[in-house]
Symmetry: C2
Subunit: 125 residues, 2 copies
DNA sequence: GCTGGACTTGACGTCGGTGTCAAGGCCTAC
DNA sequence: GTAGGCCTTGACACCGACGTCAAGTCCAGC
């Protein structure tokens, strides 16, 4: 499989795939003519990466999952390092939710207050 | 008040203040020697900006609040344009909370499974 | 043999809010 | 007069995940 096919199969771009390779997430197998060559296992790697990115992981955080797959495990989260990242991410997400919730409450309070006050004249738009 | 004093008074940096000015958020008053000159009203402007930034507003989104203050209103959110930004931000934040909540639930599920099985179902998505 | 599409590497652009450096002007104290 | 602290403008660096352009290589089809 060439890079364009892999990109199409995973819904990403060749640029991204080269970037993942540059970051050490994808292997560098080449054909005789220098073109990159991929197989089914690489397809799984890219799907794992894209899945994690889509839910807010950083590229670096996908490494344990990718390593896990490449070391022969059936799923990327079968390894302790990956599970640890899951836990860390969960804590991060929970903290973010908390922060946003308090911001939300703050915004609601402000809106209630300005609704009560009415509007001032001569405001810039 | 010179720029260094304003920076100290607002807990920010001179670099940031010059940037705000560059973005049209702060006035450009100068002394005879070319140094920037600030007063109490500018202090309020910067405090408004920093407060909004700290709860996740972008600098551009602070503009209506700053304009509102500069047009003589006692508070930055006294003007319709500012209230509109509040509403928009509230919607954004709420959507973000929703997304993160579903990610959180997803992560928890994954963790439960790996805890139970020693292996997860594969690519999360 | 030629066209054109897919591939290669390399490098710069993006976005936001700064940090930081450079080279110089101003002002006060000693 | 000089040290040094604050000010000035200008410009590059950063982070992340790419987009995009450039110039050249490879290969299949006609």
């Amino acid at each position: 499989m060439r890079i364009g096919e892999l990109a199409a199969a995973t819904g990403t771009s060749t640029r991204s795939l080269r970037y993942y390779e540059e970051q050490g997430l994808l292997p560098t197998r080449r054909r005789a003519n220098g073109h990159r060559d991929y197989d089914e296992s690489d397809l799984r790697l890219v799907r794992e990466i894209r899945g994690l990115l889509s839910i807010g992981f950083g590229l670096a955080e996908t490494r344990p999952f990718v390593d896990c797959l490449r070391s022969g495990h059936a799923s990327g989260d079968a390894c302790p390092a990956a599970v640890a990242v899951y836990r860390r991410k969960l804590a991060e997400v929970e903290e973010c939710i908390e922060r946003l919730t308090s911001v939300r409450d703050h915004l609601r309070t402000q809106l209630d207050r300005t609704d009560a006050n009415g509007r001032g004249p001569g405001c810039p738009r």
